[in-house]
């Protein structure tokens, strides 16, 4: 067996070439992991918005809250279901909510984008255990006061604590900021549902969210509600609903990202191949000597393959290292499912880490295997004779 240090030292001797090849691979792994982190971050944000205990009820045929309508009568029927759990104060944990999209100019670009304005009832807050007020206070019922998610407050104009926006012929003052542990609610503005309905001349709720006493009751509740002739609704587990909301955008990011990385990785693999072929041809005499000393063909093959794998690991490690810093970034874009802006972060997961590593090794292997075979097949006598 040829010692590993032989392969390793060879890379060190030609530092410039090693650096360039590994740099190319680092770029590829950087982009590869960045794309996966982005799609993962989006899914994490939306999935964490839903809770296993909650169910959301929409009008039949609606794919999202924005399209859904539920009348007051229907809300009252839904409120009387026996599966609904009660909060510490004895109130049933069920809420009718109204969702509307409004345009607000962004702080950075001054250009308008869509934001979700959610009209909520007092019950909405105990229902969403992840929502926490971090500054200011809740609105007074009956007033034109709003509380906003921290990421909306950061991105849009006139929506910081104490500021106000003019929508539907009224000025709405921000009296509180809330967080929701990274969930999509942070990209929303919350308002008293009754006030919102008055201002926007709406008589209809968008959805009803309820908390189940026992999550296992969901399927029986769903069957009963969907069969009820007074209601034309579909019930979904909240978590499943939000997972669906992330599907189109996450798929789009992945498809585009994978297409780009495939092209990138071909380039980088070719780069590795060039390096390894040059390395083999520079060391023809050395290979001959090693063979003459008694090393077998498979030892030569392993040594060169190891060299290529080392090379890719250096590159991949660097790429992943730099990509992990992306986690501090937050991006925002329009979610195709709801047409509203949503903010999310790059998020690294063990499976992305593993995928990037395997991808790296694959590039190293693909780039090194042909040159290594060429090296191993050299004839001893000819190799020693060459200059």
């Amino acid at each position: 067996m040829i010692p590993l240090s032989y392969s390793f030292r060879n890379l060190w001797i030609r530092r410039m070439t090693t650096l360039l090849t590994a740099g190319g691979m680092a770029l590829v792994v950087f982009v590869f992991s960045a794309v996966l982190m982005l799609a993962n971050g989006l899914e994490k944000t939306l999935v964490s918005t839903g809770s296993d205990q909650n169910a959301i009820i929409l009008r039949k045929g609606s794919d999202s809250e924005v399209q859904s309508m539920i009348t007051r009568d229907q809300v009252n029927i839904l409120k009387s279901q026996p599966e609904i759990s009660t909060g510490p104060d004895g109130k049933a944990l069920v809420t009718g909510e109204v969702l509307v999209l409004i345009n607000l100019p962004k702080r950075a670009t001054n250009r308008p984008s869509n934001v979700e304005l959610r009209g909520v009832l007092p019950e909405s807050i105990p229902l969403r255990s992840q929502v926490k007020l971090i500054k200011g206070r809740f609105w007074q019922p009956g007033s034109s006061e709003i509380i906003v998610g921290t990421s909306v407050a950061k991105r849009f104009q006139g929506i910081g604590l104490g500021e106000s926006i003019h929508v539907a012929m009224r000025d709405w003052t921000v009296v509180g900021l809330f967080e929701s542990g990274g969930a999509a609610f942070e990209s929303e503005i919350w308002i008293d549902a009754e006030q919102l309905m008055q201002a926007f001349k709406r008589t209809i709720f968008s959805s009803v969210t309820l908390q189940l006493k026992n999550p296992n009751d969901f399927s029986s509740l769903k069957t009963r509600l969907e069969a009820d002739p007074r209601l034309t609704v579909t019930a979904e587990r909240e978590k499943e609903y939000y997972t669906k909301q992330s599907k189109v955008l996450a798929m789009f990011i992945r498809i585009l990202g994978i297409f780009v990385t495939v092209i990138f990785s071909l380039g980088a693999t070719i780069g590795a191949m060039i390096t390894m072929y040059a390395s083999v041809s520079n060391r023809t005499v050395e290979i001959g000597t090693l063979r003459a000393l008694g090393f077998r063909r498979r030892h030569i093959l392993t040594a060169f393959l190891m060299e290529s794998l080392f090379l890719s690991l250096v590159g991949g490690g660097a790429g992943l290292f730099f990509a992990s810093f992306l986690q501090t970034l937050t991006v925002s874009t329009t979610n195709f499912a709801t047409f509203s802006e949503i903010a999310f972060s790059f998020s690294l997961s063990p499976s992305i880490f593993l995928a990037s590593f395997l991808f790296t090794l694959m590039m190293g292997f693909a780039g090194g295997v042909l040159p290594a075979v060429q090296a191993a097949r050299r004839n001893i006598v000819q190799a020693l004779r060459s200059t």
Binding site: L27, G61, S113, N114, I263, I274, Y277, A278, F339
Partner: protein, 385 residues
């Protein structure tokens, strides 16, 4: 002349390496031009918009409707020569994967404002006669194999229940930028059902589209309209069609920025691959360069030799990449039709590829040239490979 022959011989001395480098560059150039094409496809709607059209929508957001009653007022604003309106339908054809834009439009006026949608007159007549008729783009019709007379069922999301439409016309685009994947039908058809259901959407439209006699009137007319409805229940926002379409683009800005960054990273990858090759080439030939120097070749000769080789490889790779771009885009354009109805390679993209190849060639040659020029003859001759 002799130098040129030397460049040619040198380039293909290591055939495998030259071939691999050329292939690497070609792939990267293909990736670069593809991303550039996607980016320009993103702006497709902006490109296709007319100077003479304005869009009036609810100031709160596009998701809020405007009363049908505004139509009369809009027609009376000086400078406005045509008014039509539409509504986003958002139905589902078979399942969610089959996405295409569907619009409920005011049939008698809409196509008058959009002359770029070419419908044969007899098909237009048939469309106008029937309440549940539809006109579809030629690309859309081809995608689903629809013919005139076919019935298409859409499941409404904003407008519940199933809707059946009979295709009575197929339009072609007058310009290469015209979107041929849209689905139009009578707004009145939807309106009737909404009234029956006592829906709050009845008597409302999604947006108005206006024609002004002169593009210069766009500003004053927009202001006049928004001023007129400022203190009403539904305040309006009027902007040129171009600005309206830009609004959609800027909502997805971060994806666009990511694509732009990636397209520059690709240039980085080409630079790395080519630099690697050139660095190796020069290192292997340091002895030869010393001999050339000893024979009296000047630094500029060495410079020409190295830069020429780099340029030759980059141009071959770039040329190959450019040559396969159009067929590759054609394949992907079919796959991505849902997202980008207009995906085609622009001349500017080809030009950018060419400039990139040349730029990369010189960028990759700088360090090796410097090394060859500063090399001391004695050191080079003493050197062992």
């Amino acid at each position: 002349m002799a130098l040129f022959r030397l460049i040619l011989k040198n380039t293909f001395r290591q055939k495998l390496r030259a071939f691999l480098t050329i292939a690497g560059i070609a792939i990267a150039i293909l990736g670069f031009s593809f991303l550039r094409t996607v980016i320009s496809g993103w702006y497709g709607g902006v490109e296709a918009s007319s100077q003479n059209r304005l869009i009036t929508r609810n100031a709160i957001s596009l998701a809020f409707p405007l009363p049908l009653a505004y139509k009369g007022v809009l027609q009376g604003i000086p400078g406005v020569t045509g008014v039509s309106y539409g509504d986003w339908f958002g139905g589902v054809y078979i399942d969610e994967k089959n996405f295409f834009p569907q619009f409920a439009i005011d049939a008698p006026t809409y196509f008058d404002l959009y002359p770029e949608f070419k419908v044969p007159p007899e098909q237009m007549q048939a469309f106008l006669r029937e309440r549940n008729a539809a006109i579809v783009g030629v690309k859309l019709a081809t995608r689903y194999g629809w013919k005139i007379g076919d019935t298409v069922r859409l499941r409404g999301t904003f407008f519940p229940s199933d809707w059946d439409f009979v295709i009575r016309g197929i339009y072609k685009g007058a310009e290469p930028t015209t979107d041929e994947t849209q689905f139009f039908f009578h707004w009145q058809y939807v309106e009737e059902r909404e009234r029956q259901n006592d829906s709050p959407m009845a008597g409302h439209v999604g947006w108005y589209v206006l024609r002004v006699s002169n593009p210069e009137l766009a500003g004053p007319v927009s202001q006049a309209i928004d001023q007129r409805f400022k203190n009403s229940l539904a305040a309006t926002l009027t902007e040129s069609e171009k600005a309206f379409q830009m609004g959609f683009v800027s909502m997805t800005e971060s994806i666009l920025i990511a694509l732009k960054i990636v397209s520059f990273l690709i240039i980085g990858v080409i630079l790395v691959v080519l630099s690697n090759t050139m660095a190796m080439t020069v290192r292997e030939r340091l002895k030869e360069f010393s001999v050339l120097k000893a024979m009296g070749f000047r630094p500029r000769h060495l410079m020409t030799l190295i830069a020429g080789e780099s340029l030759l490889i980059a141009l071959l790779g770039g040329g190959l990449g450019i040559a396969v771009t159009a067929p590759a885009v054609a394949v992907f354009a079919k796959k991505l039709e849902n997202f980008f109805p207009l995906l085609r390679v622009e001349t500017a993209t080809y030009l950018a590829c060419l400039l990139t190849a040349v730029g990369v060639a010189f960028g990759a040659a700088i360090f090796p040239i410097w090394r060859a020029i500063t090399l001391k003859i004695a050191d080079g001759l003493r050197r062992i490979g």
